[in-house]
Amino acid sequence: MNVYFSRISIILLFLVININAKAQKFLIPEDAIIQYAGSIGYLSVGAGYELFGNKRGNLDINYGFVPESKGGALHILTAKFAYRPFVINIGNFAKIYPFNPGIFIRYTLNNNLGFNFDTVQYPKGYYYFSEAARPHLSFSNEFQLIKGKVLERTGLKALSIYSEFNTNDYYLVNYFQNTTALSVTDIFKLGIGIRAKF
C-alpha cells in the first residue's frame, strides 16, 4: 500500500515539474461539479479535468461534507477517474453517456480515522484495511446538454445531470462471501449530480 502511494506521488511530482510551462492551462479545470450523496458526502463540490484526445475521460477532485445531523460530521476528499465508452446523440443539442465505468479513492480527513493502524497498539496485519482511505468502483450515466438557450444565457459549453452507483472494498468483501444473503443492490450506493463545462 505504501509503496503504491509513494509511486503515485513520484509520478504526480514528475508531471507537475514537467508541465511547468503549460502549468497554468493544465491546472485550470474544465468542469465544475456538485453532487448529492454517492458515498463522498451529503453534498460535495468538485473540479473536473477532461482526459485524452477524445475527451471521454474525466479526472474529478471533490470535497464532500456529511453534517452531524446526517450521520457525520465527516470531511471527505475524493479523486475520481471515469471513462465514457458509449455515447448516444440526441439531435444536435444533447448527448447521453449510458454507462461510464470508473474508480475513485476517498480519503476521510477526520482525526480518529487513521490511514494505517498503530503499529505499537496492534501486531502486524491485525487489521488489514485502512480506515481513512477507501477504494471505490463506480458506474454512472449522464445526460449532457450541449446546445440551447440555457447554455447561451449562462455561457457554459455544456451542462450535465448524472447518477452514479458505487461500491467499495468493505462491501465487496462482504458480498463475495455472502452471495445468497446479500444482493448486488445491497452493495451499490447511489449519488446524483450536476456537471457544468466551461
Binding site: G38, L74, Q177, N178, T180, L190
Partner: protein, 269 residues
Amino acid sequence: MQFMKILFLLLTVACLSVGCNSFEFSPEQTFDRDSPKNLNAAGLSKMQNSRPKDDTIRFVITGDTQRSYNEVTKLVEKINTLENLDFVAVAGDLSEFGVLQEMEWLAREMEKMNAPYVAVIGNHDLVNKGASVFKKMYGDLNYSFIYRGIKFVCHDTNGREYGFSGKAPDINWLNQQVQPEAGVTGIVGISHVPPNSEDFDPALIQPYHSLFDQTPKFLASFHAHTHTYAEFGYPGSTVPYVITATAGLSEFLLVKIINNKLSYERIFF
C-alpha cells in the same frame, strides 16, 4: 445504437426501482434515515413482556457474525426451531469493518428471529466509527439487565482497542454490577474478548477474573472472539469461562439455567 438506448432505459429503470434507499453519504456515516435505533432496549422490553412457560431460562450465545450473513440466515432458522427460548445474545464482532452498512445487514437478518436479542460490542465493531454506530443502533457498550432473577452483565472487554490503557474492561463498573442485590439469585457475564486472549488488557486479567471468581452466585462468563469453542477456568474457582464458536463455523451455545444451576450445550446447524 438501439442496444445503447435499451441499455440506458434499463439503467434508468434500475436507478428508479432501487430508489432513495440507495443514497449513501459515506460508508463511515454513523446512522441513516432507515437505520434501526436502540435495538437492545427493544430486545429487553420484548423479554420483559414475554410469558415464560416453565421455570427454565434458555438463551443462546453466538458471536463473530462478521462477514457471515449466509450463515446467520441459517443460524436464525435454527434458533427459530428452539422451543421456549428466552433470548439470544450476540457476543461481539457484529461487523468486520465497524461500518453502519454491515450492522444494518446483520439487523435485517436478526429481525427474522422469533426470540428477542441483545448485542455486545466486539473489537471489530470499535474500528472506524463503529462505536458511534453501535451506540445508536444497539445502545451502551456496558449495560446490564435482570431477567427472571438472573443478572446479565454485558460489557466491553476489547482492551487492545483502547491501547491497553486500563479502560476496558471497566473494573469499577463491573464491581458495582456484581454487588448483592435484592431479587438477584445469579449473575452471568457476557463479553467479546475472553481474559485468556492476547487482546485482553494484560494488567486487568487478574482483577477481572478475581472479581468474577470471588463473586458468590456468579454462574458463568461467556465470550467469543477466538472463533472456536473452548471452556477454561482459574485455580480455586468453579466459574466457567466459555467461548462460543463463530457463527461462520455453524455453531452456537444453548444455555439453560434451572434453579440457579447453569448448563449449556453446543448446537451445530
